[in-house]
């Protein structure tokens, strides 16, 4: 029962990741999907995999994507300003 619910949630959040258009929101959706996956691992009695998944899937990976997005945005604004100057 619990596993069924989590599997449905996994499909729902996974579809959410695919259908989200804005990158920043997509990163959040990816984190939600990773969290559900970690809970599913926990329900399947694999706490060690769940530990790795919860850290990598909901903390490390979204953070790295966020940093990349922030970095790109900073660069883009700087280029805009340079173009405006010339």
């Amino acid at each position: 029962m619990l596993i069924d619910i989590l599997q449905i949630l996994l499909a729902v959040t996974g579809t959410g990741v695919a259908l989200t258009r804005r990158p920043v929101r997509q990163v959040i959706a990816l984190g939600a999907n990773g969290l559900v996956l970690a809970l599913l691992f926990m329900a399947l009695q694999a706490p060690d995999v769940a530990f790795a998944q919860i850290v990598v899937g909901t903390a490390a990976l979204p953070m790295l994507f966020m940093v990349v997005l922030a970095s790109m945005r900073m660069d883009r604004r700087r280029e805009d300003r340079r173009e405006g100057m010339s």
Partner: protein, 259 residues
């Protein structure tokens, strides 16, 4: 590619793959069924053979220790690659200002966030340490413990902001911890070689099952993996978060035309 072309391509591919999927689905093994005799045999023999309750650790660090050594070096190479690519442009100075996009305020962490991050940061660190230490007796091990401790680092960043975080995260120390961990693993393999046995042979006394020291070489390799993983992830976080800082040289470039 236009959305319409993309959808048509997807539908064509799906139509092609669907019959194969429909034919394969009824022949899947039942949920939870594993047709490999190896798993059953290892589950039965590892507690007797290696004095270890957590068979996953016995597989990772003993039976298949050489594979894990390879994985260890994949992580090391990946982090080295990231460091080489990202080092040098931004954030070399620890006090570098937060990069800012016009019209977006830089919000310092609120008091509640700091409090929660402090409480959970310590708890995460202790949990990570416990998971790593009890690798041979409870689920988890060096990798899981290492990433849990590293995620504690992220909580410090969340609560204390970049400067407080960088005061704690010494890049040189992270480098050293990561490299020392990998070296410990390589050195453990040489213990067997020195006795004239194959690389990574577990020749240390196995100890009593259930103790932190059970498993001979495994606790030593486990400590090495813990250090390598937490150093590697720490390094990764430092290199990436440095990218959110302002490069002082570039800042002069762009600030100049304003005046």
């Amino acid at each position: 590619m236009k959305p319409r072309v993309r959808t048509a391509l997807f539908l064509a591919a799906a139509a092609g793959a669907m019959p194969a999927l429909v034919r394969a689905l009824p022949h899947f093994p039942a949920f939870g069924d594993h047709p490999s005799p190896y798993a059953d045999r290892v589950l039965a023999s590892a507690p007797v053979d290696r004095h270890v309750q957590n068979v996953v650790t016995a597989l990772n660090f003993d039976y298949r220790g050489f594979d894990t050594l390879g994985e260890e070096f994949i992580l090391l190479c990946a982090v080295t690659g990231v460091t080489v690519l990202l080092r040098g442009s931004r954030g070399e100075h620890r006090s570098a200002r937060t990069g800012q996009v016009e019209g977006r305020p830089v919000i310092p962490p609120g008091e509640a966030v700091t409090l929660i991050a402090r409480l959970f940061g310590v708890a995460t660190f202790v949990l990570g340490l416990s998971v790593a230490l009890h690798a041979t007796s409870t689920p988890g091990g060096g990798f899981q413990g290492g990433v849990l401790i590293a995620s504690g680092f992220l909580l410090v960043f969340l609560g204390e902001g970049y400067r407080g975080w960088r005061a704690m995260m010494q890049a040189e120390l992270m480098d050293a911890v990561e490299a020392a961990g990998a070296l410990v693993y390589v050195g453990c393999g040489l213990v067997g070689v020195w006795q004239g046995l194959p690389y990574l042979t577990n020749t240390l006394p196995l100890g009593t099952a259930g103790s932190v020291w059970a498993g001979g070489l495994m606790p030593v390799i486990n400590a090495g993996v813990t250090c390598a993983v937490l150093g590697g992830f720490g390094m990764l976080f430092i290199e990436f978060l440095e990218e959110t800082r302002v490069n002082p040289d570039a800042e002069q470039d762009t600030e100049a035309p304003k005046s």
